[in-house]
Symmetry: C3
Subunit: 254 residues, 3 copies
């Protein structure tokens, strides 16, 4: 529960998918104590889970707060390059990781192979798949975004991420950080927003999504330090969305 409720704001809505790249466990614990209601899933970014020396403590911390842990998609791409899929599944199980991201943002994976992979991993894990390239020169058209999102949901993904990276520089963003707003709106019109998590790694993008789709939009790759700020954006308690969420004029003196 928040510190107070006197503003009579609507109840919380929208998933917040948080990107961890190795934040200290005390900082995480205290963030979950202060703002745990606003963290829905934690992604251990790309291959960080392979190199951290206290992975089990990290996973156990999130489990103790009831937060699902997902491993970033680039790790799986590296696994495929090394031909170690079975070992990867064992790694996930041994470390009690329940969610896995399946992406093809770096290497090429034929569509049929990606969909088969989603189906295969969905038997043992909760699969979040990702559409979009990490190469900013790769432009998907609206038809590709739409078809691929639908196919991946049909194959067994519980949600589909739209690529944005940690910096907002590819996928639904240009290399210089501008959002592809008309493509996003068309894709959202076609597939809806309930099954999509939009990667939105900066305040400008988060504000835009909330203004466009409302506070219940699912947002991903949120930095831990932005969990509380994002919640204020959803509630209209920060300048960027205040007028849109709360309305803009002071109430007449009573």
């Amino acid at each position: 529960l928040p510190a107070s409720e006197f503003l009579d704001l609507p109840p919380r809505a929208g998933l917040t998918h948080v990107l961890d790249k190795g934040l200290g466990l005390t900082a995480w614990r205290e963030l979950l104590d202060a703002a745990g209601d606003y963290v829905d899933i934690v992604k251990l970014g790309w291959g960080t889970s392979y190199v951290t020396q206290n992975l089990d403590s990290r996973v156990e911390l999130f489990r103790s707060y009831g937060k699902p842990v997902c491993v970033g998609g680039t790790f799986l791409e590296a696994v495929l390059v090394r031909g170690k899929l079975e070992e990867y599944k064992t790694f996930l199980s041994e470390h009690r990781i329940s969610h896995v991201e399946i992406s093809d943002g770096t290497i090429s994976i034929p569509r049929e192979q990606k969909l088969a992979l989603i189906a295969e991993l969905a038997r043992d894990f909760n699969v979040v798949s990702e559409v979009g390239s990490k190469d900013p020169s790769v432009e998907l058209d609206v038809g590709e975004w739409t078809t691929w999102i639908r196919e991946e949901l049909d194959a067994g993904a519980t949600k589909v991420l739209t690529e944005g990276r940690e910096g907002g520089t590819s996928g639904m963003f240009s290399a210089t950080g501008e959002m592809k707003t008309s493509a996003i709106v068309e894709v959202a019109d076609a597939v809806g927003i309930d099954d999509v998590i939009f990667e939105a790694p900066n305040k400008a993008a988060q504000s835009w999504f909330i203004k466009q789709f409302g506070p219940a939009v699912h947002l991903g790759n949120i930095a831990p330090e932005d969990v509380i700020p994002l919640e204020t954006l959803r509630l209209g308690l920060r300048s960027d969305t205040l007028k849109e969420v709360l309305g803009g004029e002071p109430a007449p003196a009573s």
Copy 2:
């Protein structure tokens, strides 16, 4: 006290007004242990205090170090939109918050109403008011900056902040982050620098203010991780201000 005093630097001067957006309490405690002398007031940014689940522990931590806690102005603007001013005062009192920021950076508040609000809240709280819009397209002229700062001090504000946001993108900054240096100098010439806190959320701005007005200038919206770096800028112990604060030539060998 700093780790050492062998450089015979002048005593510390200038207020450092720090922006909290939900940093973990252990990180805060350790920052105050390492650099508490350089923190003069802590602002709980915009509406973050409404959503954090351990607000009382946070306030108590700052109180135990003798640091006043201020709530950011956008929260009050949201309160006015919802027509909940009395409830807001109760919220502040119940959570033992002594300082409150009054701004009109997002919504329009007629001048007389803003000044009345400052006077009213100044009866129960230490009021820090803010001049400047969060909309980068709004340009105040020097006369407006000067008149409004003076009026707000006269109405009961103990200090007046000049807008800069968390990113340095409005108020005394352009949308692309350039500082409005000639306006700042003219305003400072007119109202002095003792009663003004300049929001200066990045190193370039902090360095400019210190070079322009000296180490005693009051600077605001400083990120917690920049408290120690800012102190080195004030003392001439970082490249950006070394020559201006300490002089630039090595002393002749003795």
Copy 3:
């Protein structure tokens, strides 16, 4: 040891030189617990060690993990301006600091004097010297970079840093952050990469160095929160270097 080894990656290589600007000790301890294998030396940036109030606890923490502590070069430049070299040596010894950086990025020090200073401090400390200016308008040519690096190694520096600042805006970078790639390659061809630490304070620079010189390149001014991400870049577990380090095609299904 990393969490796992199932990908059969090559052993770790390359020094990671980390820039501290006052991070909390708990965050540091937990980073060293999670990723201590990937931290080779910690630099207390510029004059931060002078102003932090718990310097001895900070140094002791790093010593307890076997990590050498270095003081940033701008501090020494301030010391020279104040004419306090002997007091500085006492300061370092009293605080049990073993490594010292010698730079002339802010003030002018004649070459012979800088080399003499390196030789003098190398009698009592491990000296890391730095070549390059913090003034982005100062352009060294390849001959200067090469000659000066060699001279400083000959004078007693154990490694030489190439300037990049905390932001990647001077030295081997332009004021707007572009890398001087052809100069870097020519300098590296001439002096080799074993005795040089390239300051590379952002992901784009780190990725470029790893792709250009391989995972064993020594990189400096790494932010603590980038220690784990950098290790994934060295290992090919992040998109930016995956193809170059691991190769780019999925292994054929076995």
